[in-house]
């Protein structure tokens, strides 16, 4: 889980360069102004590249915070569906 959160932090830093490292674990779509629909897709695609996985567009609406994405990725690792 720690490894997933560290790699996810890198993804957030890539997509939201203005976000301070300390702010990333608490980031949500409501608190990050730059997290619009385009950034959401970009973030999803960057996560796909980092974790060598495919994320369904249908899941996008629920992946609205750092914690939610980390939990989603942990579930996929547990199910053996990602390179994490």
């Amino acid at each position: 889980m720690n490894d997933i959160r560290a790699r996810l932090t890198t993804c957030f830093a890539t997509v939201f360069p203005a976000l301070e490292a300390a702010e990333i674990p608490a980031a949500t779509q409501k608190t990050v102004a730059a997290w619009d629909s385009v950034a959401a897709i970009t973030l999803l695609n960057v996560i796909e590249e980092e974790f060598n996985t495919q994320i369904d567009f249908e899941a996008l609406a629920d992946l609205d915070s750092f914690d939610a994405i980390a939990a989603y990725l942990s579930d996929r690792v547990a199910a053996g569906n990602s390179g994490a």
């Binding site: 993804c11 890539t14 997509v15 360069p17 897709i41 970009t42 695609n45 590249e49 980092e50 567009f57």
Partner: protein, 575 residues
Amino acid sequence: MTLTEALRERKRAPVDAEPFRVILACGFTPLHLSTFLAAHLQRRLPSRPVEVTCGLYGDLPGTLRESAAKNPGAVAVALEWADLDPRLGYRNLGGWGPAEQDDIVRQVESRLGSLRRVIEEVADAVPVAAAFPSLPLPPVFHTGSRQAGRAQARLNALAQQAACELSAHASISIASAQHLDLVSPPAERYDLQSDLFTGFPYKRAHASALGEALANLIAPAPPKKGLITDLDDTLWSGIVGEAGPEGVHWDLEHHAQIHGLYQQTLRALADEGVLIAVASKNDAAVVQRALARPDMILSPEKIFPLEVHWQAKSGSVARILKAWNIGAGDVVFVDDSPLELAEVERAFPGIHCLRFRPGDYASAEAFLTGLRDLFARKRISDEDALRRESLRSASEFQSRMAQQDAPEEFLRELNGSIAVNAQAAGDPRSLELVNKTNQFNLNGRRFDAAEWRALAASPGAFVWNAAYQDKFGSLGKIAVLAGKVREGKVLLESWVMSCRAFARGIENHCLALLYERTGAEEIIFCFRATDRNGPLQDFLARLLGRAPEAGARLERREFELRDLPLYHQVQWRES
């Protein structure tokens, strides 16, 4: 390039430089294409932050119409079938039956015609890079996917015809569909889910390939200027010193066609103005006999100079570079010997070394294509065709000049003439010279098309270029002067002159003309020292009597007191 890499590339953009602005015109959601285009451009333009802006979704013509007024550095157009008729996309349910096919063809023809006109209007003001439909047509046609029926063939022909017509425009570059097919397999391009959910139709790998293709057109690598080739087992098959002039080959019959194709490529490059020289460890007399064979495809008059002896090739390369007066970074060196390549590369780290592999059919096609790409350019100018002959004449001039006891008399007898075009902002050669000249360059400043237009349109602006010829031949257009005249002063913002034109006193004449034609009493030089503008610095130091500094000034009376000899006739053209 992955999306992550593209985003990181964007972060490397410098923050304190003038941005290079590009408008991306597409009918779909630009999403990652915009990111990849910006990232690939950023790699090519590391000293400037690249900004890519896009228009409204679904309004490709509107984006194009508004683009020129925003004065960008370039406009990139990514056209897809759905822009030409929404029924050729997957986000529209307008019908794919036989009743629609003829109407789709008519609609595509009409939309292509109007888009072509808009793109040409934009290109009259701004360079345009365009990619024609890269996605497969959807299953519209009753002939199925394996057969090109009339309607499908007609659609493809219409798109190709439009691309052909647009490519004739001097400021429009079209992405090669053949190259895109090689780097991005057509079956791996379309992303239906992304298209339906977001309006972005590309898989990321294709978006990167398309972004790179457009970036290459907008900011192409500077073409190499010269090629130095080995002879044995490179220009021909065999060792001429052992087999004799008649014993080396470059034809099908002797299974040496690869060498013939290489010669054919070099001949084409030479005809396009690329300098070709030979560096070979050989007996010079034997080589001369081989080169004189009537079946040589690369005829010897296209080669200058020939360095044929038994000394180190790095020495040969040094002498060739001196004769050409260009840097190693502008040159490709081709040899079949890894040892020779290593020796030259060690002596000239900037030179582009390529290994010729005789008999390696698997790599030969890529070798020839890669060679072509290193010298690729949008157009061939009159100056390109003149370059080799003018270098020969410059070399002859320099050697005669060195023998003169009275060089002033020699220069006067050249019967030199300078033809000045005083309205040269729109001449592509002007911007080309400014952006590629290093040694005699006032400040090393490069301009994109938008900056050049802005300079030419500013109050009091002038842009001149000058062509030169004398009894040794024509050098073509060799100098550009650009700046502004205000309150009796010339602010000289850009001044470049080809190294081929050195030592003839043309630079003195340029300054005399500036005073004479503008009526100015003073010239202010926007000078900046660069790593490579030593010849310009030396000239200004002699002229000013001191080391030049930014904003150096020279009054007319000081210039006239120098009483510099002006050897040349002047032809003046205002239009």
